[in-house]
Symmetry: C2
C-alpha cells in the first residue's frame, strides 16, 4: 500500500511516526507499506545566512530518532554554544533559538543548496542520514521554490496601518499574541510542486492528513499549484484528523490562525475547510454532535464526522500509533470496493 500524508511540524511528525509504527505491525510487515510525507516549507526562514526548514527538520528528527522528545522539535542532547557566540557578535535575530547540532543540518543544507541542489535533493540526502528510506519513508518538500508565509498584522505606525512579518517572527517571537489579519504565502505565485508531490497524491492508495495546523501548515501545502486538485482527483480515500479538541488546538496556535481566516475553532468548521476533497474526518468524541453515532453526523459543509472512541491527544508514541491506526482504518473502510 502507498500511503501519502501532508504534514506540518510537531503534530504531524508524531502522528506519522505513529502511522509508520502501526503499518509495521500489520500482517505483511514493514515492506508492505510505503509512506510518502509532503512537508510544509512555508515556515522556512534564512537565519544568519543559513536556510532553516523547521517542519522538514522536525519530521527528519522525529522519524529518524534524533528529536528532543520533550519539546517536540530540535535535537535531543542539544547544546547552545554557537547561539551564545552569535549573540556576543551581535548577530541578529536573537529571538530564534538554534542548537548546535541543529545548526549542522542548516549548514549542510545551505552548502548543498549553494552548490545548486534542489531542496528535494538536499532533503533526500538529509533523510538518508536519518534512515528514512530504510523505513519505507519518503520525505518531500511541498515545493523546491522558496515559499515563506508572512503574517499581516496591525501596526498604527506602518503605511496603511498594517505590515507583514515573517511567520516565524509572529509565531516564535510574538507567540501569535498579535492578532493576524491574514496570511500571505510569499513566493507561492512562482512556486510549483516539488517532483513527486502530485504523483504521490494521485497514485496513493490512501491519503491521510495528520492533525497539523489547518491554516499555516496544511493550508500552505494546499496552496501549492496542483496539490488541491490532486487531492480532489485522487482515487484514494482522503481522511484527516482534527487538530482541535473541544475547540482548542492540541498544540500551537491553530486557534489564532483560524481566527485570522474567519473560521470557527471547531473540529467541524476545520473539517469543512477540506470538505472539497476529504472523505473522512476523525474527531474527538467530545467534538461529535451529542447523541450522533460514529460516522453518522455531518458538518454544515456535508463532511462526515467520525468520532474516535478515545481522545485525539498523542501524549506518547503508543497513543500516536493508535490514533494513526484509527485514521488508517477509517481510510481503508472508505476505499472503493
Amino acid at each position: 500500500m502507498r500511503i501519502t500524508t501532508l504534514s506540518g511540524g510537531v503534530g504531524g511528525a508524531r502522528f506519522i511516526r505513529g502511522l509508520r509504527r502501526h503499518l509495521d505491525r500489520l500482517p505483511g510487515g514493514p515492506g508492505d507499506h510505503e509512506v510518502t510525507v509532503i512537508g510544509n516549507t512555508g515556515d522556512d526562514i534564512t537565519l544568519w545566512g543559513l536556510r532553516v526548514c523547521p517542519d522538514l527538520d522536525t519530521l527528519l528528527y522525529t522519524l529518524g530518532g534524533g528529536i528532543h522528545e520533550g519539546q517536540g522539535w530540535g535535537r535531543a542532547e542539544e547544546s547552545h554554544r554557537i547561539q551564545a557566540e552569535l549573540a556576543a557578535y551581535g548577530a541578529k535575530p536573537q529571538w530564534f533559538g538554534l542548537g548546535d547540532l541543529d545548526l549542522a543540518t542548516h549548514i549542510v543544507r545551505s552548502q548543498w543548496l549553494g552548490q545548486g541542489l534542489t531542496l528535494s535533493e538536499v532533503t533526500a540526502r538529509l533523510a538518508s542520514r536519518w534512515g528514512l528510506p530504510d523505513q519505507g519513508l519518503t520525505l518531500l518538500p511541498m515545493s523546491d521554490d522558496p515559499v515563506e508565509t508572512h503574517v499581516v498584522v496591525d501596526d498604527p505606525e506602518a503605511d496603511g496601518g498594517q505590515r507583514a512579518i515573517h511567520f516565524q517572527e509572529w509565531w516564535v517571537r510574538m507567540q501569535a499574541s498579535v492578532p493576524a489579519s491574514r496570511f500571505v504565502a510569499v513566493g507561492m505565485d512562482r512556486a510549483t510542486a516539488a517532483p513527486g508531490v502530485l504523483e504521490a497524491i494521485r497514485t496513493a492508495d490512501v491519503v491521510i492528513l495528520p492533525p497539523s495546523n489547518p491554516v499555516v501548515s496544511l493550508g500552505i501545502i494546499l496552496g501549492v499549484p496542483g496539490v488541491r486538485d490532486a487531492l480532489r482527483g485522487t482515487a484514494a480515500p482522503v481522511v484527516g484528523v482534527s487538530p482541535l479538541v473541544g475547540g482548542a488546538p492540541v498544540r500551537g496556535h491553530a486557534d489564532a490562525c483560524l481566527s485570522a481566516i474567519g473560521v470557527e475553532a471547531t473540529a467541524g468548521a476545520v473539517g469543512d475547510l477540506f470538505a472539497d476533497f476529504l472523505d473522512g474526518w476523525l474527531v474527538d468524541p467530545g467534538d461529535a454532535p451529542p447523541g450522533s453515532a460514529a460516522g453518522s453526523s455531518r458538518t454544515p459543509g456535508g463532511l462526515r464526522l467520525t468520532a474516535w472512541d478515545r481522545p485525539l491527544l498523542m501524549p506518547d508514541v503508543a497513543s500516536a500509533t493508535e490514533l494513526a491506526g484509527a485514521a488508517y482504518d477509517l481510510a481503508l473502510s472508505l476505499r472503493p470496493t
Copy 2:
C-alpha cells in the same frame, strides 16, 4: 606613535600581542601607540558554504584573549559537535577541522558578507567583539577582494603533470609533505588593497614585519598591488624578524615554502627577499655571521643583519613581548633624526 605590521597567523599574532604589551608598558601608556595589523587573507577558504579567514581569526582570538594557547589557533575551550554532525551527513571536506565556537565566527562573517558588507567592515565588527579597538589595535584584511593561495604540485595523472590545489589542502591535509612547485595567488590580478592598508604603511612611524611565513603569509600580502611600493616609499623605518632559526622555521612549513620559490632557508636569504624595503632585520644570534658585531654584518643583498642577544623563539607571552620590544627598539634606532 603609529606602528603598522603585516601578519600571517600564529607567529604573527603572538608577536603582535607581545608588541602591544611592550608598547603598553612604555612611558605614556597604552594611549600613546596605535597598532595597525594588515592580515593575510590568502589562506581564506570557503568550507561548507562558510567563509573562513584563518589568519584574521587567529589574530582576533590571540589579540582578543580567546585563543587556544596550546595549539596557537582556534578557540579556547572549544568543542567539536558540529563537525561530527557534518561528517554524519557526509559533508565534505572532512580534513579541515572547525570547532563549534570557531564556526560561529564563520557563520556571522558569512552572513554579513552575504548582506553586502566588505571583508573590512566585517572584520571591524568581529574585532569590536574581541575588544581590539579598546586596545588601540586596528585589524585590516590585506584586501576586500577574495584572494586564495593555490599550490602547484606534481601529479602524473594531471594534464601537464601538475595541478593546483588550495593552500589549505596542501598545508592542512598534506602537511606540506608534497613538494610545491610554485604558489599562485588566485584573484590577486583583480585585487586591490583594502581601505586603509596603503595609508597605514605610508603614514606609519614604524613598520614591523613579525616572524610570519615569508612566502605564503608576508609574500602574499606583498603581492597586493601597492603594498610593496608603499613599503619602499614610507618614511618609517621598516624592520623585520626572521622566521627562521638556524635554517629551520620556528613554526609551520616555511622551509617547504622557501624551497618552492628557490630561496635558501637561511635568515639572511629570507631577509634578502625584503631587502628592497627593509631597513633592519632581526636574526637569531646563531644566524649572524660568526664574530660579527650586532648590526655590523650584511646579507649578500646588502641588508644589515642585527642579531638579538637572545633566541628568537616565543615560547610564551613574556618572551614574545621581549622580542617585539627588541624589534621596536631596532626600528626606533633607525628612524631619521
